[in-house]
Symmetry: C2
Subunit: 319 residues, 2 copies
């Protein structure tokens, strides 16, 4: 007997929602936001064949589907609280569902997120997640707060997720290959960093479409431009070995899926940011600065020779 | 040149979000809930070939994708405030998108709902909507409030949406066929009714899976049973002509997609409910009553001969 929708929800996606007045099981969930907060709301859709391969590991997929949304909450400086999950599946494969739910729910528990609703239906594999978070009123980290003179910072290292997709063209040890795949499949949303940056940063975004494209979004919304020093961009040792190859350069500048935070802060915040880095044990690197707006593309990347790199492919477009 | 994701969002889905601090265009939207409210949150996914035909009219689809979520908010007694829309499309067909957005945004404006975020990507046609509404704290209409002795009520008429799917097997005038199709494609969420029922009703649900299944959900959550008189269930004149045929009986009892409200209320509320019906000009019909729980299926439907009907197909399952 195939599972019905009700059985699927009951078996795999029902947990005691401590932060909700009423969780899964009614027409809608009932939530109570804390006093003095604003809500930050985000939604992302992952499609088989586009965002992941059809045979992708379901546990990793469950993790990633939630992680990409948590990353959006992190880049706003929010605390994630509630999620909804709508999923369309070719069939009600119990094994697949159990693994998917394990990956999703494990990450949800780690960040105190309650799954409060959603929908399951039959159809081509499609995973649509929404997350609601909280942020003290007026304190969200937005894209539109950058000012000329700000430093540009990035967390962690960039490019590994995109390099994982090109791994077939590189000579890599199995261990390196697995490490890159983990970066691509199991991004760690920078929730703690986003919270700490509410004090120190003026603007922030997560790197989902690629550094140049995402920093470009900050520039557009803030009506500024940015200059980045290519050699300052932090990369993993594996990526470093290929740094001068076009595939690696593209991964660093235009590779999506790293889910690190790019943020801007005044020069006066450098010590505070160094303290945050030590406290959270997250590498934070100053890679450039914000300038006044100018004609042409908002983001300039300067190479080792002091001249701007030409940026053929600057970001991921979903169409 | 195909449209990029950014152009699609900008062109079709950006409007001034009056009820949001920050709408489309950042990593997440920022919302401020009113004081003393709880949030009601719902999510639904519509898949081509399952919930609608591949060539379905995009404007009607835009309407329906939002309407089914608004209906969930209505059945909670909530005021819908914000929506997110994630959509996967085989190609960025501008004409299709413009029509879809027209249907979606028109209904959103009618109910004061702001589209505050979402995602567009390429893939098999899939529409995933989430709506957040508000309800005064502790006042939501839930499924678990029904008590033995309550009347069972339903709004409007039932069965037309399901009959539209069987229209090929019936002798219908073109005008009748169009009217049924409109009931299926363009449901009117009962927002005003849900608000009015916060005072009068003890429990409510919207008819999305079929009367017997949805009233059954109320019974399960409330630990009661229900008895419904088949001949009292209100139907349209068109459906009435086929009332004794199995296809019509199945449409009335097990047809989903009507998006009317089924609710329970104490007998003392009959006058109040009649007043609500007159004020809102919505037909409200008493079709049965709630009883103590008993063995077997929670909902019994009594036929004209006074004996229970056998209910082979009692509701829609998504798998």
């Amino acid at each position: 007997m195939p599972l019905t929708e009700f059985e699927i929800i009951k078996r795999y996606f029902t947990h005691r929602a401590r932060g909700a007045v009423l969780g899964v099981g009614d027409d809608a969930a009932i939530l109570r936001a804390r006093r003095g907060v604003e809500l930050v709301v985000t939604a992302d859709m992952l499609v088989a064949g586009r965002h992941f391969q059809k045979g992708a590991d379901p546990q990793r997929l469950g993790h990633k589907a939630l992680a990409v949304n948590l990353s959006d909450i992190a880049s706003m400086g929010g605390v994630p609280r509630w999620a909804t999950l709508s999923i369309s599946l070719p069939d009600a494969n119990e094994r697949w569902l159990a693994a998917f739910a394990r990956g999703f729910m494990r990450l949800a528990r780690r960040h105190g997120v309650d799954l409060v609703g959603g929908d399951t239906t039959r159809g081509p594999l499609n995973i649509s997640v929404q997350v609601i978070g909280e942020v003290p009123a007026g304190r969200a980290l937005r894209r539109d707060g950058a000012r000329a003179g700000d430093d540009v910072w990035v967390s962690g290292t960039l490019g590994d997720a995109a390099l994982a997709l090109a791994a077939g063209r590189l000579r890599l040890a199995p261990r390196e290959r697995r490490a890159l795949a983990t970066k691509l499949d199991m991004p760690a949303p920078r929730i703690g960093l986003g919270l700490a940056l509410r004090e120190a940063a003026r603007s922030a975004i997560d790197v989902s479409d690629g550094l140049v494209a995402d920093l470009g979004h900050i520039c557009e919304r803030s009506r500024v431009a940015a200059v980045v020093q290519f050699e300052r961009i932090p990369v993993s040792p594996t990526l470093g070995r290929y740094r001068d190859r076009p595939v690696a350069r593209a991964a660093v500048l235009a590779g999506g899926d790293d889910y690190e935070l790019v943020f801007t802060a005044s020069r006066g915040q450098r010590d505070a940011i160094a303290r945050i880095s030590r406290r959270l044990r997250v590498r934070l690197t100053r890679i450039g600065s914000i300038t006044r707006p100018r004609r042409g593309r908002p983001v300039t990347v300067i190479g080792l020779d002091g001249r701007p790199l030409s940026l053929a492919r600057t970001g991921y477009s979903h169409f």
